[in-house]
Amino acid sequence: MANAASIPQPPALARWVVPAAALVGAGSVVAALDGAGPSLTTYAAASVPAHVADLVAGLAMISVGAVLWLVRPGPPGVLAVLIGCTWSANDWVGRQAAPPMARSVAMLATPFLLALVVHLALKWPSGRATWPHARTGVLLAYGVATVVAVGQALVRDPLFDQNCWRNCTDNAFLVRADVDVAQALEAFRLWSSVVVGGLLVAAVAWWLARASPAARTATVPVLVPAALVAVAEVGYAVVLLQVPEENPSVAPFTVVFLVRAAALTALALGLARTASRTTRTRRAVGRLAQDLASAPAPGLLRDVLARSVGDDRLEVAYWLDGPQRYVDAEGRTVDPVPTRDQAVTTITRDDRRVAIVVHDRSLRAAHDLKSEIGAATRLAVDNERLRAEVLFRLEDLRASQARVVARSDATRRGLERDLHDGAQQRLLAVSSELRLALAAAGSHGDAEVASLLTRAATEAALALTELRELAHGIFPAILADAGLGPALRTYAAAAPLALDVAHVVDRRWDLGAESAAYVVVVEAVADAVRRSASYVSVAVEEDAGHLVVALHDDGSERDPAQLVHLVDRVGALGGRMHAGTAALRAEIPCG
């Protein structure tokens, strides 16, 4: 199993202290109820269902706490074990045969049940107080419980308690019996239960109401049962305020006890669910590390993290030091901007930024990320980042090639325009002037000058034709003006061999793609001529975002080396070339 190395792990021995304590606690739970009979003044002794509910609640809490601690060492596991033990302490209190000291200690523990639940809920799941006033709330709950526990231990003599039921004989800590103070403390205990329980329910409701969906999903299994426990404890206190003499065979008491046990069991189940989820996440992350050898798909880390913290919107962005930018797992440039309910966790290595994770602001996601991105994930993060960087550089290179090609195309187009608008216009003007001069010479009967002017005019006409062909060769204006179809048809009219363009779709595409396709055809024709072909047929169509140019000819065997620059040109646009003996196929992205 992969360890989460980024959170401090206790030493191996200390790690087993909590489970060992839990084992002792569980043993004492069973021992407390062993040999049931009239000497046992507990709910468990009153009925079989109560007995089962009592045992289940206590053992579930303790064992889940131990497992939780093993899976993720921290306060929640300890608290769960303590809650289970405190719950079961009531059974020791009511065990008449137990040593007085044991019963007295158990009595000292019981008032802390609600405080422990408050602690677990308010600090769930990070073990750090992140709710507003959580610290105050927890201290208040513990303070109240301490006052009650210590006060009653010092002044309450069970013998003088008219409402005593569980333990009417032993208090090893008694200093001075004071019935009035003891009664006042009991009233304080009940009322404070109502207040603290009510506050916890309110706090949970407030938290769930404003939590993001991801945070809510993650915390509901624990927070709702915790609130239920609080409600049950409030109910218990209310019943005791009405009927001070506790009696397990009276309906209200029986019902309240069963509800309390059920709520506690639900809390244990909620904790168990969290523990199992953490284990599954660990396994997934562990598998991720193992998958490194078999080259996992890019983005796997993001998927695993998103699943493990239950946040669909989670994004991982890798930082590239060179180009100073973030890229995703595919190497695409991204600009991770967290929304209002998102936070950013930075993954660093030797104080250098490696990646950031944009995730739900909920404390659970933040905490889990810190623990999940541990030693095992480190390899996955590095691997994905390296690959993202390679992909980014490849894309960067391709984009740079595409820019070079586009700039060269633009330059050629500009040259063609300059020739048309400049040199050609001037030559036309010269020709026109020559014709006028010729007419004038003719009317003056100057035959020698007329013959010279005629030769000059012929030369000018030839120059114009050559200039037009040159300009067309540099860049066919028709390509930009009318598109690939007309340009290829024009080219076919002057091609050095039979060029069949019947299967060229007449529509417009991106000029860069059209230019590349045009060059492919022209070069393929030149190649076909070299291989003594008698014809070339060309088909152009669009397929899945690609301009597909398929060429076929009857020439001799093709030498792929002759088409390297074509492969480069198409590749610069992110396209591909397939060259067979008689067939040539170019796939050029066209948006």
């Binding site: 608008d421 026109s432 006028l436 204006a477 009219a493």
Partner: protein, 214 residues
């Protein structure tokens, strides 16, 4: 014959004007862009407009667009488009919308007064004019299976003149044969090439151009 000239280069405009004047035409207006051209045409109601294909602002095909507009708004005005492009595509675009009273001539013809005036004259008379260089380029195209193999050299000659936009009568005088002979040739050629013979002399230009390009 009254003519309006449009070209953004003053030098060329003046050259064309002096050639046409020398040949006896009356140049009633000149324009540097399409908007000015439309104003001149509305004002002077000329017989023919001689329009450069490249005019501001994009210097691509404003002349073609203007030609189509003139033919739509002023059916009485013929349009001769002058172009540096040896492109059948543009010529076909011109004749496909309004086949009569339009012409597509390579710009280098402008220093040959006779050819230019002849083209202007033909457009004025309602004929279609397609530059012979474009036709010979289309005829010169190499093909795997030459669809023109079925026609005789004489028929080829006739077909080329049909493609240039000449009427039967003009072809007859060019080849010094009777108009009846030309008619017979044309019928024969169209049958051999599986072209539906259109009685309209203008439509048949487009049909032949399309066939030659296919």
């Amino acid at each position: 014959m009254r003519v309006v000239i449009a070209d953004d280069a003053v030098l060329i405009r003046e050259g064309i004007a002096s050639l046409l004047r020398a040949s006896g035409a009356e140049v009633v207006g000149q324009a540097g862009d399409a908007e000015e051209l439309m104003r001149e045409i509305r004002r002077h109601q000329p017989d023919v407009a001689v329009v450069d294909i490249k005019m501001p602002p994009t210097l691509t095909d404003e002349g073609l667009v203007a030609a189509q507009r003139i033919r739509e708004e002023q059916p009485g005005v013929g349009v001769l488009v002058l172009s540096q492009y040896l492109e059948a595509t543009y010529a076909m675009r011109l004749v496909s919308d309004h086949p009569e009273k339009v012409g597509y001539l390579l710009k280098e013809r402008i220093f040959n007064g006779e050819v230019l005036l002849d083209a202007v004259q033909r457009v004025h008379e309602g004929e279609t004019v397609v530059d012979p260089t474009i036709i010979s380029m289309l005829f010169g195209r190499r093909r795997r299976l030459d669809p023109l193999a079925v026609v005789s050299p004489r028929e080829r000659e006739v077909l080329a003149l049909v493609a240039e936009g000449l009427s039967n009568k003009a072809i007859a005088s060019r080849l010094t044969v009777t108009e009846r002979t030309v008619e017979a040739h044309v019928t024969q050629i169209f049958a051999k090439l599986h072209l539906s013979e259109s009685p309209d002399a203008h439509r048949r230009v487009l049909a032949v151009l399309t066939f030659l390009r296919g």
